[in-house]
Amino acid sequence: MAKPLGTTTHEHAGSVDLGMPIPHGLDGIPRLAGDAKLTKKDYTSDQEVRWCPGCGDYIILNTVQSFLPELGLRKENIVFVSGIGCSSRFPYYLDTYGMHSIHGRAPAIATGLATSRPDLSVWVVTGDGDALSIGGNHLIHALRRNVNMTILLFNNRIYGLTKGQYSPTSEPGKITKSTPAGSVDTPFNPVSLALGAEATFVARSLDNDRAHLSHILRAAAAHRGTALVEIYQNCPIFNDGAFDAIKDRDQQQARLVQLADGMPVTVGSKDARQVLVRTDEGKLVFVPEAEATPERTVVHNASDPDPSQQFALSRIDDASMTHVPMGIFRQVERPTYDDLVRGQIDAAVTTAGGPAGDAELATLIAGRDTWTVA
């Protein structure tokens, strides 16, 4: 699979003029000394992994365990926070600090941790139900705030842990135990939702494409702000084959749209390549390469502050998975909530001449209107 990924945040510096340089996503987090290196084994906990055989979560875990050493961080400065669901068991299997919290609330908990501890690399692991049903509110607010953390949303389009009810990403008409006559609600497209929620980094990857997922993780970690990574994940027990159409080697090329920053949006093999163009009505459609004029060709711009085209790209996806965009949809710089919150405190403390001691505290509680009784 091609993996022309967006560049890191650093290389985008200056693309959005905010008057201040945005640091790298890992700035301020202690790194390993010298050329010390950790391995996948260092990141593997002693707990027995208990997902069902064949679950996509295994491959994602493997990829993450293999990827983490590459960050060069001290592992005690990495924290994984999860909600509830099969996917949310993830932190138990990583030998970092971790919290398996409650259903849907991981983004809020991670916000408190990341904002008060700039020296930590904070990761959230969540499922489609966890992030988009019960935790939908926390997800959108984390995204708009732009707290420096990475959210890995394992989307298996089903409630795995509770044994197979439809989820907010299940396709319409889904037959499950709770929808024997087919689900009737319209699903969320997590990428569209994130873009609508003012996210600064939004990407999508696939559980079994380790190389692609590693690249996305790399860019997400480098991004300063909330990075949302949707990972299509197979649940062989309750929603097997949900992503077969885009995993099948024969169909994959015709369906997967690999987004590459600064490049035309295309799909298909060399000899059957289609190019995304903008019609007179402003719609985005794929046409054979020969019919695509340069003026009409849609060139992906992940760092465009205006999310309209990125949003339009997220909409070429549909339930039939005829065309499914993969990669980084959006990667823009915006000051992060946690940097700003800490900045206000640091400024106040500095202006006052340093941290408050007993005397300053005594002055505070006395207020401006005291009297003395002899």
């Binding site: 408190g112 509110n137 400024a347 006395a366 209107d369």
Partner: protein
């Protein structure tokens, strides 16, 4: 102000209620009068009372806002049952408050506002200032509005409306003269507030003076009054509300613990002032995050607690309901966390601006599973400071969420506060885990996140960033010692008992019994904000010859170790509460005693009189 003429009558105590439209600035007027009174050295207690609506229609009963202050030359325990003086800025204020003003009391009314239209808005067919219906009261109809406007003739740049707005300062000036209060503090306050707007500043000062001078020159008021300072322990004092004291207590407690305060909160009456106050304390390192909802607020606090901060979340009853699941998680994670519940009338939205104590059982039991949580309840506005420090002690020592149960009366009520010495507050320094605490089977050092301190049963607080202590915690039941997931039945039972034993074993001071005669057979047991009314009622009852003992609980979970013995020492136990009898139920269940409940939920504190009656009846 020097050189005033006329007589000064000494009084030992006065209760004044300022009442007007919510737009009339009655809270400000009351606050300023209180500050002047505090500066004079009187002891005092205040009770603001305002509508839930920000601006109910002008001149209507729902729009009436009031502020009551009780001050004396002796110690004051309550804001007073009934006002000696009612200042009524309009007919609505008169009508809404008259039922609580005893005959013989003084009423000062702004007669300009008693127009036919305003009278009819509140259903007065005739003008009560003129129709004789108030002949049992000392009524002073004063042209507050028009005299204010006249006094401001020198301010042509101000509109009539703007001038009228200064009438609360006229009223304040008049009352300051009547009760011989200094006005320097108010002048300085106005200077600070309106310094940038010289016209508005000048107008307010002029109105204040005009009110004072009116009192001095008119023959309407025969005398002014003096209330000598109350004897108070020597020291430096300020006047403080419960919410402010509670906020400062959290900061001071965290300071003594060497921790940063991280508050996650969602606005809700009457707790929002804690969010506001702490948000202004960045210079003290305080971090506040206004969350998207109450669940996120406590999630933020818990995340920060995992990171080694003093996580705090502040809310009222409806917010506690939303936070319940996360409180349970904190119980399971055994991390320090402070949940502030400033109780208000319930259920549901209930009475947002009124006080109640009906969240006790919610604090005690409002979670799924066996999830014991310590509860601390301050008994007065100033005690909110000490109770907050105590909550920090319990949370950090025992690694547990703590419920701090304040209420609307404490939150907004104010009283003089003798400032504590920061260095004399308890030493709350915490020890974070820094290395392995056990050995594995082969003798190699390991870290066991649920290995407990044998004294406190607290587990280690091992914060991310500490090398070698990487561990995972979660809401699934954990194996004793290792903290690994465990579904073992015996382990679950052991962990349930351990969590309970940890809370039961928290050291709390014994409850103190006050029984001056030593002959009481009736004990009045209170908790939280009923302290003042119960103490005042007991004092009155004793003066009437009734032998009665009192005890007040600040720790509701665990109860003080001596409580059972104390209760059994008395023939009768009366438990006054602003709920339907929640503490009564707890002590009956726990100690098998026949405690009698005196339960009222009117949204206002108990009056001394009703408690005297209840005590006298039961003491029989």
């Amino acid at each position: 102000m020097e050189g005033m003429s006329g007589t000064k009558t000494p009084l030992d105590r006065v209760v004044i209620r300022f009442a007007g439209d919510s737009g009339d600035g009655m809270q400000l007027t009351g606050d300023r009068f209180t500050a002047e009174t505090a500066a004079l050295g009187n002891d005092l207690s205040t009770l603001p009372n305002f509508p839930a609506e920000i601006r109910a229609p002008q001149g209507t009963l729902p729009g009436v806002s009031s502020f009551q202050v009780h001050f004396a030359d002796h110690d004051v325990l309550t804001p007073g049952d009934a006002p000696d003086v009612l200042v009524a800025m309009n007919p609505a204020a008169l009508k809404a408050n008259l039922p609580e003003v005893p005959r013989g009391a003084t009423i000062i009314a702004d007669k300009d506002e008693f127009s036919t239209r305003n009278l009819s808005k509140v259903g007065y067919a005739t003008n009560p200032l003129e129709d004789g219906s108030l002949e049992s009261w000392h009524v002073h109809p004063v042209a507050l509005t028009s005299m204010t406007v006249e006094a401001l003739a020198a301010y042509p740049s101000l509109t009539r409306k703007e001038k009228e707005r200064a009438k609360n300062m006229f009223a304040l000036g008049l009352l300051s003269w009547m009760y011989s209060r200094p006005t320097d503090g108010t002048r300085a306050f106005l200077q600070g507030k309106f310094g940038a707007k010289p016209d508005i500043l000048g107008a307010n000062l002029a109105a204040l003076d005009a009110g004072w001078n009116y009192g001095e020159t008119t023959e309407d008021f025969v005398s002014s009054y003096e209330i000598a300072p109350a004897p108070m322990a020597s020291g430096t004092y300020r006047n403080v509300t419960g919410n402010t004291a509670l906020s400062y207590g959290l900061v001071a407690g965290a300071h003594r613990a060497g921790l940063q305060v991280v508050l996650g909160s969602y606005p809700i009456t009457p707790a929002s002032d804690i969010l506001h106050t702490l948000s202004g304390l960045k210079r003290y390192g305080v971090m506040t995050l206004q969350a998207e909802d109450e669940i996120a607020g406590i999630g933020i606090a818990l995340g920060a607690a995992f990171g080694g901060k003093l996580g705090v979340t502040s809310t009222s009853g409806p917010g506690v309901a939303l936070k319940s699941e996360t409180i349970g998680l904190a119980v399971s994670l055994e991390l320090p966390l402070i949940v502030v519940d400033v109780q208000r009338g319930g259920p549901s939205t209930g009475l947002p601006t009124k006080t109640e104590q009906a969240d006790l059982l919610q604090a005690m039991y409002g979670r799924n599973g066996e999830a014991p949580v310590p509860i601390v309840a301050p008994c007065s506005p100033t005690d909110c400071f000490d109770a907050a420090v105590e909550a920090v002690r319990i949370a950090t020592t025992y690694r547990t969420p703590v419920m701090l149960l304040s209420d609307g009366y404490l939150a907004n009520g104010a009283e003089p506060w003798q400032l504590p010495e920061i260095a004399e507050l308890p030493d709350l320094r915490v020890d974070f885990a820094s290395g392995p605490n056990a050995e594995d089977a082969k003798g190699a050092p390991v870290f066991q996140p649920y290995l407990r301190d044998p004294n406190t049963l607290a587990r280690p607080w091992a914060v991310p960033g500490t090398p070698g202590l990487e561990h995972r915690i979660g809401g699934i039941e954990k194996a004793d010692v290792t903290g690994n997931i465990s579904y073992d039945p015996d382990n679950h039972e052991r962990m349930t008992h351990l969590r309970q034993a940890k809370i039961d074993g928290i050291t709390v001071p014994d409850v103190e019994v006050i029984d001056p005669s030593g002959e009481a057979r009736l004990l009045v047991l209170g908790w939280g904000s009923t302290y003042g009314p119960i103490a005042a009622a007991a004092r009155t009852a004793r003066a009437n010859g009734v032998a009665v003992a009192t005890a007040h609980l600040r720790h509701l979970n665990p109860f003080p170790a001596n409580l059972g013995g104390v209760l059994r020492d008395y023939e009768k136990v009366l438990v006054p509460e602003m709920n339907a009898g929640q503490l009564a139920m707890l002590v009956r269940a726990k100690y098998l005693i026949d405690a009698q409940s005196y339960a009222r939920v009117r949204g206002v504190p108990f009056t001394t009189a009703e408690l005297v009656e209840a005590i006298t009846a039961l003491a029989g």
